[in-house]
């Protein structure tokens, strides 16, 4: 039952979310812009892989996130997204917007570069601290977490401060 709730509920909520959006007039056409080649897919895949590996590491560490926490977190995220969609719907604005241009792609690439730097610095420092050349779950979670934190911090910095 717990597994069903953890996997089934998010899928169900996502389906409702996209069914609501894509049944609106014109939204489906706009998805062509969203899914087009102008997006920096490499960065997305990089972050997704990093996050997945980090979650694997957290599970390897034996840290169990209570089911109610993960479900409530997802439900809150869903409610926030849904409110955003409703507000745009009521304002008569398109829900799917073709956001992203070459500046946004440059910001993502620079953020990924900074994450790469942080990751490699951690790889460099680890043998000095651990005095061994193996990487246990704690250390690779730390390495990946540092990369992800630097990525998101850089992204917000470049997006809101530099631009």
């Amino acid at each position: 039952m717990d597994n069903f709730l953890q996997i089934g509920l998010p899928i169900f909520l996502i389906l409702i979310f996209y069914a609501f959006i894509l049944t609106r007039k014109g939204e489906r056409q706009r998805t062509k812009y969203i899914l087009g080649s102008s997006r920096d897919w490499i960065t997305y895949i990089t972050i997704a892989l990093g996050a997945s590996a980090m979650i694997e590491g957290i599970l390897d560490l034996g840290i169990k996130i209570p089911v109610i926490w993960s479900i409530s977190g997802f439900v809150i995220l869903f409610i926030v997204m849904f409110i955003g969609v409703i507000l745009r719907y009521r304002a008569g604005k398109p829900i799917i917007r073709p956001v992203g241009d070459e500046r946004i792609n440059a910001i993502k690439a620079k953020s990924a570069r900074n994450a790469f730097f942080a990751t490699y610095v951690v790889f460099f420092v680890i043998p000095f601290i651990k005095k061994s050349y193996t990487l246990d779950a704690t250390w690779y979670v730390v390495t990946l977490a540092v990369g992800l934190v630097v990525f998101f911090a850089s992204y917000f910095f470049y997006y809101y401060r530099e631009a």
Binding site: G50, A109, F117
Partner: protein, 165 residues
């Protein structure tokens, strides 16, 4: 411990010295390095030192590296570096040089930035694959992870710098 601290300090000093020498040379004004992406270059320095210390540490101690991957890497890494050097020279004289068709500008910086991004993708992908069925990354796995990042960085840099611009 003291040797490790000295090694760490030496690496940092070497990197900073190279940076300062490059930037402060009289015949090489700041302008010519204006479009270098120093963050990705520094990342490659740190990654390179981590990789080399992983690869050659036991060899320097007189202990033969045990596993097959390390033995393969001991041959593959120098070969790949030589191939990259030859490629660089070929491309430099073919497409670069004094009458360069590829002058340094913002695109140069962006080529390095995108290469670093691709290298992070390779690193994370290798980590993800290894961690699917292992809870600890062995030394040889770490070697492969770092090598993937290094390899993709160089290939991407050549691709973006000489063929994409």
């Amino acid at each position: 411990m003291i040797y490790q601290i000295l090694y760490f300090a030496a690496v940092v000093v070497l990197v900073i010295s190279l940076l300062l020498i490059t930037l402060l040379r009289k015949k090489q004004p700041r302008l010519s390095t204006k479009y270098w992406d120093f963050i990705s270059i520094a990342a490659m320095f740190f990654g390179g030192f981590a990789f080399l210390s992983l690869l050659y540490h036991d060899v320097n101690l007189g202990q033969a590296p045990g596993d097959t991957i390390t033995k393969i890497m001991l041959i593959v890494f120098p070969v790949v570096m030589i191939v990259f050097m030859i490629m660089y020279l070929v491309l430099f004289f073919w497409k670069g040089g004094i009458n360069s068709r590829v002058n340094d500008d913002e695109r140069t910086e962006f080529a390095h930035t995108k290469s670093a991004r691709n290298a992070l993708l390779a690193t994370n992908l290798a980590l993800f694959i290894y961690l699917l069925d292992a809870e600890t990354l062995s030394r040889s796995a770490l070697l492969v992870v770092l090598f993937c990042g290094y390899f993709v960085y160089f290939v991407s840099t050549f691709f973006y710098y000489y063929f994409k611009v």
